[in-house]
């Protein structure tokens, strides 16, 4: 007699285990708070955090939008600046020799140390934007520059053989070859832009006008409104996850048919 094993669908096998772990952690957290009667100002339960997300939406949603606006503006600027500078690095070595040390200096200097200075010289929204840009910029620059320089040597020779112009080589060879590297940098930069925005908003603190989510966390902390702190934190985490998932989906879409990192098994 034949027996047939029932296999779960692929999506269930992929997303089931982490979803179960997440649900178990939330359930354990909820149970602990309820059974031990932990007050909300010490540790709010997940259901209370969810409730706060709804009741405080008039405060939290505008703050989320401000943080999102800063994050995406910084990421867009980092992409334009990082890719643009990486192209210049590849085309003219003297540009790389001239500018790379400054890019490294900005990368290795902690953003929390730069933020107070920027808040002196710039208006608060601009300072926050610059902070988020600075942390997102370097991974995009370094990954893209690496990718542009990593084109297959034989293909470079082939382009030389066919007398390709510098522009043709960039457009048809170096940029496509750099795409997987760029997307890797973009995924890192996306997360870092959010972190940079949050850190800068926290550094802005009293100087800020209370716009972003980080400021709402600080403000709720001063008022011992712990459920709102958790609610704001949950929104930040959800935003970070959404950015990562969106950029991973973009990466799969663009690389799906040809790159090992995104494609299925080859023939």
């Amino acid at each position: 007699m034949k027996s047939f094993a029932v296999r779960p669908p692929r999506w269930a096998a992929r997303y089931g285990p982490p979803a179960l772990v997440f649900a178990a952690v939330l359930a354990g957290w909820e149970a602990y708070v309820r059974l031990r009667n932990v007050p909300a100002y010490i540790l709010p339960s997940p259901s209370r955090v969810l409730e706060t997300l709804f009741t405080d939406r008039a405060t939290l949603i505008p703050a989320l939008l401000v943080t999102l606006k800063t994050t995406f503006a910084a990421l867009a600027a980092a992409v334009a600046g990082g890719v643009g500078l990486a192209i210049l690095f590849t085309q003219w070595k003297w540009v790389e020799r001239s500018f790379l040390p400054f890019a490294i200096v900005l990368q290795v200097t902690p953003i929390v140390a730069i933020a107070p200075l920027l808040l002196i010289y710039l208006e608060e929204p601009a300072a926050v934007l610059v902070c988020a840009f600075l942390v997102a910029f370097f991974p995009i620059l370094s990954n893209t520059a690496l990718g542009l320089a990593s084109a297959d040597r034989n293909l470079v020779d082939l382009f030389k053989l066919y007398r390709a112009t510098r522009w043709q080589t960039l457009l048809h060879l170096r940029l496509p070859a750099a795409l997987p590297y760029f997307l890797g940098g973009l995924r890192i930069g996306g997360g870092l832009a959010l972190i940079g925005a949050i850190v800068a908003e926290l550094a802005a603190g009293n100087a800020g006008k209370g716009a972003g989510l980080a400021f709402r966390i600080s403000e709720a902390g001063y008022r011992l409104n712990i459920p709102r702190m958790f609610a704001a934190l949950a929104l930040i985490s959800a935003t970070g996850i959404a950015i990562f998932v969106a950029l991973s989906a973009l990466s799969s879409y663009l690389l799906g048919r040809w790159h090992e990192s995104a494609a299925g098994p080859e023939r």
Binding site: D157, H172, R257
Partner: protein, 252 residues
């Protein structure tokens, strides 16, 4: 006798790190011949192809090419297929035409013809990773042929393929040469492959010294009858002895 398409006269090549790849090379490539460069690793075979292609320049002596002014006259096939993984097979074959300024729709007939020549007429939409090793090499050959070059340079193109695929591609390459009349300069380590494909074999020793030039006087098309004949075995033995002399450094 007609002028050779390519002529090395006492040519040498020294790289910037001091490595001497070629020294005192005298070699002619005649039109429509299938010349194989056979020799041990590092004897300068690939350097000769790069010099013919214009990817490097000789350091001493002279290299004359009959087709100096028109670079579309050269096709190059590397040891690896060297396809652009992000582009379809069609776009890979379209590349030489695109770089010469042809629009996609205008180049389409030439690309499709090149694909048909190598038996990939129905695979234009596939991506390289979706093809087998042999099909990738066919795509690489189609790209090299799309401009209908005068000279096709092939640097150990079948080295990484299994024996069955290699035999098939050997036959297809000979058929293509018969159809197009392209001059082929082919690099290999295989005595058997060199005898099967070539009209002439230049056996090379270190630094590009030609130890022997052996004409394979067998008409095309060649097939399994030739592979299993005593004539083939005789040529293989002759080339093997010359190769042994090259490896021993015996120029006598």
């Amino acid at each position: 006798m007609t002028e050779p398409l390519v002529s090395f006269q006492n040519a040498g090549k020294m790289y910037s790190n001091g490595t001497v790849a070629l020294s005192g090379l005298d070699l002619d490539v005649q039109g429509s011949e299938f010349l194989t460069l056979l020799g041990p690793s590092g004897c300068g075979k690939s350097t000769i192809l790069r010099l013919i292609a214009g990817l490097d320049n000789v350091s001493s002596g002279t290299l004359t090419r009959d087709f100096e002014q028109d670079h579309a006259s050269i096709g190059f096939v590397f040891q690896d297929p060297t396809l652009m993984p992000w582009a379809s097979v069609f776009d890979n074959v379209f590349l030489p035409l695109r770089l010469r300024g042809f629009a996609r729709n205008k180049a389409s007939p030439a690309v499709n013809e090149a694909l048909a020549l190598v038996g990939l007429a129905s695979s234009g939409g596939a991506f390289p990773r979706e093809l087998s090793g042999g099909m990738r090499m066919r795509a690489s050959i189609a790209r090299a042929l799309v401009l209908r070059p005068l000279v096709l340079l092939m640097d150990e193109p079948f080295a990484a393929l299994d024996e069955i695929t290699r035999f098939k591609l050997n036959d297809d390459l000979l058929a293509l040469q018969g159809e197009l009349g392209t001059t082929i300069v082919f690099v290999t380590h295989s005595v058997f492959e060199s005898v099967y494909l070539s009209t002439r074999i230049a056996v090379m020793a270190a630094r590009g010294r030609a130890v022997a030039e052996i004409a394979i006087d067998v008409p095309s098309p060649r097939g399994m009858d030739f592979r299993t004949s005593s004539v083939y075995a005789h040529y293989c033995a002759q080339v093997s002895r010359a190769l042994q002399r090259a490896m021993d450094g015996d120029l006598a």
